[in-house]
Amino acid sequence: MGFYWAFGTVLILLAITAPAALVFGFGGAMAARSKILPLRWFGKSYISIVRGVPDIVFFLFFVIALDQGFEWLRHQYLCPDWDQPIRQGNDFVVCQAAKLPQGNAPQWVHEVYGFFTAVLTFAIVFGAFAANVLYGAMNAVPKAQIETAHAYGMTAAQTFRRVTVPQMWVYALPGLSNLWMVLIKATPLLFLLGVEDIVYWARELGGTKTPRFTDYPHGDWRLWYFLALLVFYLAFTKVSEVVLERVMKRLTHGQATLGGSQ
């Protein structure tokens, strides 16, 4: 059963991560366009650092780093009179109350917490990619539109809200749909983050089973399980491609671009 639930896990992850990454991307793009210099530096370095390094490094890094970061914050807040250093040799020690999740919490809390850090990690990494796409899209909105908005006496914030944002989606969509494909193809990496996803179950269930441990002994079936996963992902990307093509057609309808004038 776990194997079938795991497909649900993947779909839920996609459903949560996609909007979260968009939010991160929007924030990053706005920061990169900001007039305030430190904020601009922050936005630009966020985009370029995440994009210049293998994504899997970030996946492995953030899961531990976020976990320790949360615990450290809680530690500062909950146990102010703790005098020992947090890093003792090879151990990361925080006070009992700051542990996340609590040591006596039931199993599902641990799983949800692990899933939550995984989603956050995905959102941070893909947020940078989305930020890059949205940054390009905001710059691609025709200058004349912005100037017209200024001429009508709109403030910068109003221009951004009423003119730039509604128009940028068309320019952003090809990049975002590409990103969606990439996101789908990155979901098996969940396995590395310790979430029990389809890769985990395919390895578990496919492995050689002896009659001693199970009612359904079989040989090494992992090849077939992974073949099934491959087909699943192929079908998923193919369907997404078709759907996104339709969305693009609808969005470009009536726009002053090559796609819209057809």
């Binding site: 210049g52 994504d55 492995l60 990361f92």
Partner: protein, 268 residues
Amino acid sequence: MSCWDTVQAYAFRSLGYGERLLPRDDFTICQQMTLIGSGLIWNIYFGVLALIAGFFLANALAMAKASANPWLRKPANGFILVFRGSPLFIQFFLAYFLFLNLKQSTGGFAWLTSAWAGALVVLFLNTAAYSAEILYGALRSVPKGEVEAADAYGMAGWTRFRRVVWPTMLRLAWPAYTNEAIFLFHATTLVFFSGFPAFQQKGDALYYASYFADKTFNPFIPYPIVAVYFIILTLALIGVFGLVNKYLNRHLPQEQRRKLRFRPQIIR
């Protein structure tokens, strides 16, 4: 143990030379830098070989995809769809178990189950599929005028392809191909996390980095080291590809030459 001793002991650890045991406690920055750098040898090995071999297959595939003959076009399309439409991670797993089955059923092919050959095959096929799509796109945007000019000079068939179509195609595809190369190198980090075992702890850069992170429970040192190494590797790659780009565009007037820009867009 001074830092130089550490370098001597571990510089080629990933290939199996030098000290056998990995450091167990009291990890120094020097040890981490050396071992992770030593692991980088594997990343470069996978990346360079897969890139060179994949380039030839990608050209063949792009030609097949553009051909009018359905017996060539259909298989090429299918190959590109399968390798571009599914995650590389799953491909690694599938290939590993496929090779394992092959080994058990035929007795031969034992070398394919080890990372140096098996993962290389997967990376080679994968990059060939991605590059073929890029080259195919470039092939379709070769200016008509150039082909007509070639016709006017009396060139046809192979001569026309070799002298006119192929160089232009390569020139147009090169920026995107640079991107692909960068991501191929990034993808090499997946090898030792996907079924392929690291025999005698001979792993790549990320393998050692996660070893250190597991042991010290401190991700803030090993992963940034990997990141720095990869940024250097990426910059070197851009440099090399930039030189080739310059060579490909050498006949164009100065202002028409497009500079290579680092534009990572796709990961797999």
